[in-house]
Amino acid sequence: MDTITLYMQYIVNGLTLGAIYSLIALGYTMVYGILKFINFAHGDILMVGAFIGLLVYNGLTGGEGAETGAWTLTAFFIAMIVSMGFCALLGMAIERIAYKPLRNANRLAPLLSAIGVSFILSNGAAWIFGTQSRRFPYPFENEPIHIGAITITPHQIVVVVVSVVMMILLTSFVSKTRMGKAMRAASLDQATSMLMGINVNRVISLTFAIGSALAAVGGILAAFDFRVYPSMGTMTGLKAFVAAVIGGIGNLQGAMIGGVLLGILEAVGAPLLHIPNGMRDTVAFAVLIIVLLVKPDGLLGKNEREKV
């Protein structure tokens, strides 16, 4: 295989990874946009999403060894929808219990609360499910498809298609619907949005619900590559957060672009710079540092100093 096709292959792989980062980054960025706070428990929500998805899928199909076909694919989407619903409720509950009472507190307080929630979720999962990692069976034949010299697996196609559909749904929600526009208004100017009769508490709940549902999808899609285990959300969540910052935190398009960009840079950068596999994660953080030095507000971030 010549070098160009090799790197084309890396880009395809990076695109798959990046699509997952984007989905998760959206949750960070949406919450930040409205509350100016980083929800560090977001990564663990994706882990819960993966576990719920796996349980539902295995429950419906009998798990590993089930003959793939129309039913397993249907079961996979049922599992995804159930998991989205569960995580939406979980995200709303976390906000109500752990963040809302701290809304007028010192800015560090909700941050610490989020780190606490993160530990509770990952340790809770370890307690309930054990710490061994589980495979998420492919709900379809994962026979690689060869396009020229490039190889694409059906699971990569599913990841990209599902992610793109989710992003299109989210984008049309915030630009077309009444509640979606209210969400944007509340993130631009909370006090003024209340003057319009917008119930900001409800908007914040909705933001957590949507962000967490997207994380559930991200978790299930990530489970194909990374397996399912209680601490799976830590590194993936952290990198999605990096993606949100790179794109410009608070900006939806920024999170989508940041995620895809980070996935591709990671997949291409590691072999290009001869970084051993175990140190692959350094690429993401090196990119973060460079972006922060050159453009501190991220690629699409507004160059807006915080008003005092």
Partner: protein, 245 residues
Amino acid sequence: MGEILKIDNISVSYGSIRALTDISMSIDEGAVVSLIGANGAGKSTLLKAIVGQEPLKSGSITFAGETICQTKHHHGGLTTDLIARRGIALVPEGRHVFADMTVEENLDMGAFMVRDQALINKRKEEMYDFFPILGARKKQKTRSLSGGEQQMMAIARALMSAPRLLLLDEPGLGLAPLVVQDIFNKIKIINEENKVTVFLVEQNARLALRSSSYGYVLENGKIVLEDKGEALLLNEKVQKAYLGA
């Protein structure tokens, strides 16, 4: 016509600093009432108190017979979004348009409480007729508008909910005299044709009092004078302090 807003002996503090002390006011339905005073007299604080953005230390505010604001002691009153739902719209100082949204989306937000899409569309068309510049710029981001256009945008947004009481905080601030005159003409039309009660806060005392049936003078958080608009214009003290005569 009856009283629509009653402010009963309210006080507001920022920490240990008294911003408003024992303010009482009454606004009749259909009137244009203005509040004049120097910078820092507490004018904006009073408007914020009416929409529930500033907690009361004492007293209460009643709108159309319902208590909307009271002290924490008495369960605090309604939140800002619920006060808006009762029919009070505030055009805040500094306009506070949603800069990253288009003119049309800003109007949509103004009509957030209206659930009838046909009615929303009808009102938008009315606003584009009333403020033609907004119609010409409806697909533009609001941040690209001039100061005067943004002020019109903020007023139009407030009118989208068809409020019973319109509160205006310094609608002329930082705008060219001709634009200010235009805005005050519009306010007059809004009051006369749409039957909206208007309570406005303004540093340009002459313009404010000329367009008002009644006026209040605020100094250091206290009402020091109140009378009919034209009477205040002739008042020696007002002339000296606020009209530069």
